[in-house]
Amino acid sequence: MGVALEIHRACRARLAAHGPARIDRVKVAVGELSAVEPEILRYAWEAVVCDGPDAGAELEIEWRPARQVCADCGEIAERVEGDWLRFCPRCDLPLSVEGGRDLDLVQFAFTPLLEVPRVGSDDDGADDGPTPLAPDGNLP
């Protein structure tokens, strides 16, 4: 959930200079050793955006597997993702682990929204803040 919030915060921070906008989709890179489970991140993302102007924004997750590498033989192609070899299948040497630690915001897409005058004021003089947008990004 913290990571999903961070993704949204990072996109929104970049959007601040663009005026009103709706996030359409976001691409993140998630490494096998990042301790982030893609399905849980997707679920958390939906929870983060569901009530705001970015509801429905798509989260694309680029999975980056780790590699097991032998000092003599190079990368071990026999490795099955999600499982790990103890030793090099050819020379029995211990293996090192490389990569798979990514946790990056790669890219996002947004649609600028037209500036619209505030509607629905209750005329009591108090600042009610901006009118919230409906999930489709339009004013209700």
């Binding site: 790990w84 070899l85 947004f110």
Partner: protein, 226 residues
């Protein structure tokens, strides 16, 4: 409606945390304080390991303190204070990990003074705390024998990052189907240069080795300060 526009970012999602962690690391380096980030599942024995480490580390002349991360309650900090170590509780209020900003704020409140070793006991969780740098010198993963030997491959992120894996509750090995050699092989596959220490807070097994390792690393940290 205007067409969709794309923005390339290519930035680590935890960059803000990393910057806060670097600021902490500089501070700890200037003070010569060794900082240890302890991570494990709930109930693996982080607090107990610290309780048992107080007397030997004190005897080695080290000034100690602990920051305790928990979702709720002050209980762990109270246990450590009772064991004679200054401790400050960071209640995360639902967040499943500590981050560098929480640690900086906790240190401010705790006002520990000069320290040789600062323990940061993370929220009990093998997943989320893994990604958050707290400005520590190294991470320690605890693995209790009641959890099962398959945990390293199930949670590879933390076992790949931990410089030391401490097996706890080894006195229960006779009663649980935990294969120590399999756990060792899994950790070694993820972290070939990692240190492996088997302990029991009940029998005292491995505690000398754990405390000697910390004492040596604390001396190196102090020496590096110059």
């Amino acid at each position: 409606m205007s067409p969709s526009q794309e923005v390339d970012v290519r930035r680590n999602l935890l960059a803000a945390n990393a910057a806060a962690a670097d600021a902490l690391r500089e501070r700890f380096a200037a003070a010569g304080t060794l900082v240890v980030n302890l991570i494990s599942a709930p109930g693996s024995g982080k607090t107990t390991l610290l309780e048992k480490s107080v007397a030997p580390l004190r005897a080695a002349g080290l000034r100690l303190a602990a920051l305790e991360g928990d979702i709720a309650t002050e209980r762990d900090a109270e246990r450590l204070r009772a064991a004679g170590i200054p401790a400050h509780q960071i209640v995360t209020g639902g967040t499943c990990h500590l981050d560098a900003r929480l640690v900086a704020a906790g240190l401010e409140k705790a006002a520990f003074g000069a320290l040789d070793v600062l323990f940061i006991e993370n929220v009990g969780n093998l997943v989320c705390p893994t990604s958050y740098d707290l400005g520590e010198d190294f991470k320690v993963a605890l693995l209790s024998v009641t959890e099962g030997e398959d945990k390293p491959f199930k949670y590879p992120g933390i076992f790949a990052r931990a410089e030391i894996t401490v097996v706890t509750k080894a006195d229960l090995l006779a009663h649980v189907p935990f294969r120590l050699d399999e756990a060792r092989a899994q950790v070694r596959a993820l972290r070939p240069d990692g240190r492996w220490i088997v302990t029991s807070a009940t029998t005292g097994q491995g505690l000398d080795e754990w405390c000697a390792e910390l004492t040596a690393r604390a001396a190196a940290k102090r020496a590096a300060r110059g």
